[in-house]
C-alpha cells in the first residue's frame, strides 16, 4: 500500500500509523519532522509545485517499496502556514523485519529533502526569509545512490 498526501490540514500521526499497521507488517518505522521555533521563528510557510510534488513522492514511495520489499510506504507532507511545534512531514514504512523498515524510512526522508519541490519561508515577526538549501541534505541523499 502506498499513500501520498500533500495537504494544508494538520497531520494526524495516530491515524496514519494505524493505517499502516493494518498491512500485517512486523515492523513500522516512521519519521516526523516538526517546525522548530529556534532563532525566533514565529511561522513557517511551505510552498510546493502542485502535481509535480505528488508525482515525485509517489515515485520515491514506489522505489522504496521495491528496494526494501515493503508492505507499505506513507508520505504525508503539510503545506501552507504552520507554527513552531506543528508537524511538517510524516514518513512511515512497514516491512516484515525492522532493518528494511528503518532503512527505507531514512531513504524516503533523505530523498524527499532534495527531490520533492517544496520551499520553506520562515517568518520572524514581520520579516520573512526563504530558507536556503543545505549541502548536508545533498550528501544525505547521495548515500542512497548506486
Amino acid at each position: 500500500m502506498i499513500r501520498v498526501s500533500v495537504d494544508s490540514a494538520p497531520i494526524d500521526v495516530g491515524v496514519e500509523l494505524a493505517g499502516i499497521e493494518e498491512s500485517g507488517a512486523g515492523g513500522i518505522a516512521s519519521f516526523i519532522g516538526v517546525v522548530r521555533g529556534d532563532g525566533g521563528v514565529t511561522c513557517l510557510e511551505l510552498e510546493h509545485y502542485p502535481g509535480m510534488t505528488e508525482a515525485v513522492l509517489c515515485d520515491l514511495a514506489e522505489q522504496a517499496m521495491t528496494r526494501w520489499a515493503l508492505m507499505s510506504a506513507v508520505i504525508v507532507h503539510r503545506v501552507g502556514p504552520m507554527e513552531p511545534g506543528e508537524r511538517i512531514v510524516l514518513v512511515a514504512t512497514a516491512a516484515a523485519h525492522r532493518g528494511a523498515a528503518l532503512e527505507a524510512c531514512a531513504f524516503l526522508i533523505d530523498r524527499l529533502k532534495t527531490e520533492a519541490p517544496f520551499w520553506k519561508r520562515e517568518q520572524r515577526g514581520e520579516r520573512a526569509t526563504w530558507v536556503d538549501a543545505r549541502e548536508s541534505d545533498a550528501e544525505a541523499a547521495n548515500r542512497w545512490t548506486g
Partner: protein
C-alpha cells in the same frame, strides 16, 4: 509555453505563472532564462544567477543545459527545501 515560478523566484518576478512564446533561437532551459531576463526588471533580478536556479520541464527536474524540446510547462525555482 507555460512558465511557472516558485518561492523567491515567483516573488521577485511578481507572478506565479505566465504564457510566453520565446523565439526559435531559445533551445535550452538556460537560453530561456537568458531570454526571460530581458522581459522585465523583476525577471532580470530573479534570474540573475544560474547557480541559484533549478528547473523542471513538464514536471521533471532537468539540468539547465537541457533542450526544451516540445515542452509545454517549464518551472523555474530555487533549490528545494522541503521535509
Amino acid at each position: 509555453m507555460r512558465l511557472l515560478y516558485f518561492a523567491w523566484v515567483r516573488e521577485t518576478i511578481g507572478v506565479g505563472e505566465e504564457d510566453v512564446q520565446p523565439p526559435e533561437a531559445v533551445r535550452t532551459v538556460s537560453d530561456l532564462i537568458d531570454w526571460l531576463r530581458g522581459q522585465s526588471e523583476g525577471h532580470a533580478l530573479a534570474l540573475v544567477d544560474f547557480k541559484r536556479l533549478r528547473a523542471a520541464v513538464d514536471q521533471k527536474f532537468v539540468p539547465l543545459d537541457s533542450d526544451l524540446g516540445p515542452a509545454r510547462e517549464v518551472a523555474i525555482f530555487p533549490p528545494v527545501t522541503g521535509g
